[in-house]
């Protein structure tokens, strides 16, 4: 397949761009990658990724961070840490995946809908201090406009309910006012 080079890709290749978008420590580390592919071979979900972990590092080193962010790769990481513990260059690839997800949100560049579950999750945690599973699922399927997902969940939900395993009401921690204060403090400083 002939790959057409887009102008944007060429622009992205400017030297030093990766350092500007990623933490210096991570940018420095990916320079030590020897492209052996151990990460890709260890990854249980690599087969479903637009670019495997080894490709991601190569693309980042070429400055193509936008192409990386547009890919589904960071959102397919299950955080199993096999790549991290096996990398001969000591690259903590799982943490790089987390950093890329955060960067994607900061820049607003990601495959449509990718962060919705994570955002719904933190929404419930910030409100109650603990996760609220039922509300989370409802919000997730509503926001992704996927009523079918919710319907498909119903039989399992019912079985869970019958076994007393469906948390219908969220647990609210006592210190949620203090928690809100801390979250506000971070938000005001642009760190939330």
């Amino acid at each position: 397949m002939v790959h057409k080079v887009r102008e944007a890709d060429l622009f992205e290749s400017s030297v030093g761009l990766v350092e500007r978008v990623l933490d210096t420590s991570i940018a420095e580390k990916i320079r030590s990658c020897i492209q052996c592919g151990t990460c890709s071979a260890s990854c249980p979900t690599a087969y479903a990724m637009d670019y495997t972990p080894r490709w991601i590092i190569a693309a980042l080193r070429a400055g193509q961070w936008e192409r990386v962010l547009r890919s589904n790769t960071p959102w397919l990481c299950a955080s199993c840490y096999y790549c991290t513990v096996r990398c001969p260059s000591g690259i903590e690839f799982t943490d790089l995946m987390y950093a890329l997800k955060r960067l994607a949100i900061e820049r607003g560049i990601y495959p449509k809908g990718s962060p919705v579950l994570y955002q719904a999750f933190t929404g419930t945690v910030d409100r109650y201090g603990r996760s609220a599973e039922v509300e989370l699922m409802a919000r997730y399927y509503l926001r992704t406009l996927n009523p079918w997902g919710l319907i498909k969940m119903a039989p399992m939900g019912l079985r869970m309910l019958l076994k007393g395993r469906l948390p219908l009401l969220p647990h609210r921690i006592e210190g949620r006012r203090e928690l809100a204060k801390m979250l506000d403090y971070m938000r005001e400083r642009g760190e939330g």
Binding site: T45, S79, R102, K163, G164, E191
Partner: protein, 296 residues
């Protein structure tokens, strides 16, 4: 032995049996688990995926509360996700800049954290602190003849590997052997269950679950023992969908390791939350259940 106990959100309702059986087992082994007062979400992987500082503040609030309550203590969890995140929070707080920023935010809520609390996983506490001698001594109902596939999932020994081998952990294998169970050889023991991908990328996660269940069946296991609530749910609740998707009936009971340990200590099924499984374990566990009249 006394520890501060951090149950984790999933244990409140959906995996209540894990919490119940943990407390029951601890009591039977004279381990004091004192629940951390007003604990909050550990910080958790979904939060870390979209924001850094608030994630570590969430984790640090728990560590700070534990320190205030019990000083330099061990904070014991039963969820791999909580364990890994609390461990990561501690590790990252060694970085002076992050430590300063987290400290500043904690002070808004009148909290501070010196860094003296250790995150532990209950499995590892049982194996390393309680130990083989005492556990063997307390077993009254050895699980002879019960074939168990030991499943650790990802974040027990990875990424830090502080308490067990990174890729082939053995703590659960050893514990199960002490209580008389027949531990089947299960090389996928630390492979991934898919985690939250079960919600966002179901096709991908179902395949992982299929592989795990298929191997357990192939090795002749009667059940799988898990040490993480999310692994338990993914392995148990989606067996129907695995069947629809791959056409293979791989149904097998998925139990918390604490339930098996509890049975061997002669505890009653009810005290261990048995009966809440979606895939019934009644048949395979019948030989080991204490008859109620003997309890009186």
């Amino acid at each position: 032995m006394a520890y501060t106990y951090y149950p984790g959100c999933s244990q409140e309702v959906s995996n209540r049996a894990y919490d119940l059986s943990t407390r029951a087992v601890a009591k039977a082994l004279d381990i004091e688990l004192k629940e951390l007062k007003d604990w909050n979400c550990c910080g958790t992987s979904p939060s870390y995926s979209i924001r850094e500082l608030p994630t570590f503040v969430l984790g640090a609030r728990n560590l700070a509360l534990a320190e205030r309550e019990a000083g330099a203590c061990d904070l014991v969890t039963i969820c791999n996700g909580c364990f890994a995140m609390l461990e990561k929070t501690n590790l990252r707080l060694k970085e002076p800049d992050l430590r300063r920023r987290v400290g500043e935010v904690l002070s808004v809520a009148g909290l501070e954290y010196e860094g003296s609390v250790r995150a532990r996983h209950f499995l590892e506490v049982l194996v390393n602190d309680v130990g083989e001698g005492l556990i063997r001594e307390r077993v009254t109902m050895p699980l002879g003849g019960l074939k168990v596939a030991p499943y650790y999932g990802c974040q027990f020994s990875r990424p830090e590997g502080r308490y067990d081998d990174l890729e082939f952990p053995t703590a659960l294998d050893r514990l199960l052997s002490w209580i008389g169970a027949e531990v089947v050889d299960y090389p996928l023991k630390a492979q991934c269950c898919g985690g939250l991908l079960m919600i966002t990328k179901e096709e991908v996660a179902l395949k992982l679950i299929r592989d795990l269940l298929a191997l357990a069946q192939k090795r002749g296991a009667h059940c799988m023992a898990t040490i993480c609530p999310l692994c338990q749910l993914n392995l148990e609740a989606y067996q129907d969908r695995v069947k629809v998707r791959f056409g293979a009936d791989l149904s097998i009971p998925i139990l918390y390791f604490t339930q098996l340990l509890g049975l061997s200590l002669g505890l009653e099924g009810k005290a261990l939350g048995l009966g809440r499984e979606l895939v019934s374990a009644a048949d395979i566990l019948a030989p080991y259940l204490v008859v109620a009249s003997r309890e009186v």
